[in-house]
Symmetry: C2
Subunit: 420 residues, 2 copies
């Protein structure tokens, strides 16, 4: 089953907002067992919406549309879809109840403008959007069997994500009677993508035909996704388990996590399940190690705090790095990283202290310590572990990779210890 995505909105077209919906929707469609063949961003323009929708229906059975569902006059998606399906608008009771509920939650009255949000074309099945006032609309075209489907979703990211997860993808799977899909994520670290590919190629070639493998590389991390497809879920589970059983002897040393999307999630899971606390000491990452961890709700359960020691003076005063260490080895050195990690662990009274110090660039490099040279350290109850990184790329990539590698080293060491 082929799907296309149309993201409507002048703010996307002029580049004011980066279109993150597209990637999220693609991922959800693909893990749901559908192929995505095109993503189209257009403005709030009737002709563009009509033409793009017609083109999409020529190359796909599923067209998902986001945006243009607000109550202002710029937002014309509903009107255009109503015309496209030769239908007329009516006030949907369930949608109206939801609009009232949403407004009440924000202490607001129902206005005539807001009431319009509950009007939907008769040709559609209204799908309630419990997180917002714009309903989701499901249209079917009687052209063929199974009928091609057009779904209009709100453009607000968290409303769209919730509707996709709870309503749209399950309904699509039912409508098209697709196979069961089982996805399994593995986080892999410490080996480059091409080396990993060489290492596991024989294993990949021996996978059953109904299991596909995808490589999703990020700086300092490769996510492997196994997608199994078939009629029986239990059987898929057995197949995937069997595949993992043969993968671990080959590449197990590089597999740091299962069933997670990101390294910060893996850190949270590892620390929380073992009852460990964490403190961070950052130089070249400038707060990013802590910010990525605390972007996840519940971080306060294990993360006590951190120090961003950008200057050498702060490395000394706030972390207790010795002046002689900085003088003898420089700020970017194994010794400094070690003392930062030990210092923050002691001063912030945590089970683990982690540290980064390096040259993020573009300036500051030297022949001995070029841009991208980074030392990371993990101080644990059982000692201190350090690692030198040579990060390719620009400032943002150096910071990204350093965070990822540090999370990996921390998790590895934390897993070696018994839970508290």
């Amino acid at each position: 089953m082929k799907a296309t995505i149309i993201n409507i909105g002048d703010e996307l077209l002029i580049g004011q907002v980066v279109n993150t919906n597209a990637a999220q929707m693609s991922q959800m469609l693909i893990t749901g067992g559908f192929d995505v063949v095109g993503v189209y961003t257009i403005g709030d323009n009737g002709d563009a919406i009509r033409d793009t929708l017609s083109n999409c229906l020529k190359i796909s059975n599923i067209v998902l549309i986001t945006g243009g569902l607000g109550p202002t006059k710029d937002d014309i998606t509903k009107k255009v879809l109503c015309d496209f399906f030769h239908s007329e608008l009516y006030e949907n009771e369930e949608a109206l109840e939801n609009v009232k509920k949403r407004l009440a939650a924000h202490g607001r009255e129902l206005t005539p403008i807001n009431r319009q949000q509950a009007w939907v074309p008769r040709a559609c099945t209204m799908v309630n959007n419990i997180l917002g006032t714009a309903p989701c609309m499901w249209f079917e075209l009687p052209d063929s069997t199974p009928a091609p489907v057009v779904v209009s979703l709100p453009g607000v990211p968290f409303e769209m994500v919730n509707l996709m997860q709870t309503e749209v993808v399950p309904r699509l799977q039912q409508h098209f009677r697709t196979d069961c899909i089982l996805n399994k994520n593995l986080l892999v670290q410490g080996i480059g993508e091409s080396f990993l590919s060489d290492l596991i190629e024989p294993w990949e070639l021996a996978l059953p035909a109904n299991i596909r493998l995808a490589y999703l590389p990020q700086p300092g991390l490769t996510k492997l996704r196994l997608t199994a497809r078939g009629s029986d879920f239990t059987q898929l589970q057995q197949q995937v388990d069997a595949a993992l059983k043969t993968l671990y002897p080959i590449a197990g040393e590089y597999i740091v996590g299962e069933d997670l999307e990101t390294m910060p999630e893996l850190v949270a899971q590892t620390m929380l399940s073992r009852g460990f606390t964490l403190a961070t000491a950052e130089s070249c990452t400038g707060g990013a190690v802590a910010a990525k961890l605390t972007a996840l709700a519940g971080a306060s359960e294990y993360f006590v705090g951190g120090v961003v020691s950008y200057s050498n003076a702060v490395k000394e005063s706030a972390l207790g790095v010795r002046h002689e260490t900085l003088a003898a080895h420089g700020a970017v050195s194994e010794e400094t990283a070690r003392e930062m990690a030990v210092g923050v662990r002691e001063r912030l009274n945590a089970d683990f202290g982690v540290a980064t110090t390096g040259i993020a660039g573009p300036g500051g490099g030297s022949p001995e310590k070029p841009v991208g040279t980074v030392w990371i350290a993990v101080a644990s109850p059982h000692g201190v572990f350090t690692k030198k990184l040579s990060c390719p790329g620009r400032r943002a990539q150096v910071i990204e990779r350093t965070c990822s590698e540090l999370y990996g080293l921390l998790v590895k060491r934390a897993k070696e210890l018994p839970a508290k």
Copy 2:
């Protein structure tokens, strides 16, 4: 002049990579005086590339294509364009020299595979890509006057940006003999978008017809962009200066910066121009205040470091917040924010200390202090300034808005002091 963008790459289509190129290219085209009417993301698929290109040429005079220019067999853009323009590939000397230079910079030898990067269709004008091995290719269609243009660019973001800025946009402006364009950015804070719009509406209506105003809202900040279009650059400059002269008496109190894109840039400019140093103390933002500042190169010139005091214990031990303050007022309070800012300023020995403490959510709220309640503080040589925020939205938005408001308060207070 209408433009379309085609971003080619399976990694974009499956949602593995968020398409940030699209927004950057749109912005550059629009500030260059062109309209963007559609953005299309497709896979590395010959038919899709051909069909999409044909469709784009029906609705635009300019088609910019990114991606699919690597040396591996997945990358087919060059081959498809060569066929589309009924041309043949040849080895371009200038491109070959550039490939050799790029490889040498990374200590690598020229291989037959890499050498292929220097082959381009005879039908195109080769535009050298000094940051990468894939050349940019400029095609013209002799259909009409001025000839429609198709440009193929590499998908690597920094290579694309450099080529757009230095080559593609200037060449497009020359080719289509477009008007001069003058863009002026204003960063506005402390007033919601709709209130701002009401406030300056009379001024906006009185703008000359060749000046357009765009609102680009972000959490805690609105960017206003004036775009003036005309034949004479000096005259545009005078017009924009005159427009600003009448804007400041109306809304000057909310304008925090000119000619900048982001608040971290404004912080850097303000602190560096005055010779001030800065230290950060963060609770609810968890390191994001520091990470956003240090994401910009050169931050070490004014940023000495910071403390992420997530737990109360760290607020006391690392920042000197008094136990009685936390007990009497709680961690999320004006008093705690004040003591955090003063503490980090003193302990890290900076001119300015800034602090955040609040409830980012989704948990942790109470009737008196609901999710989104945040106190920010700025400790300066002349005293401490605090502000309470009530941030709508989810965790990420609360953090984003808090950072933005804090940067604004810091800049305001720093500008009141004479340079050191």
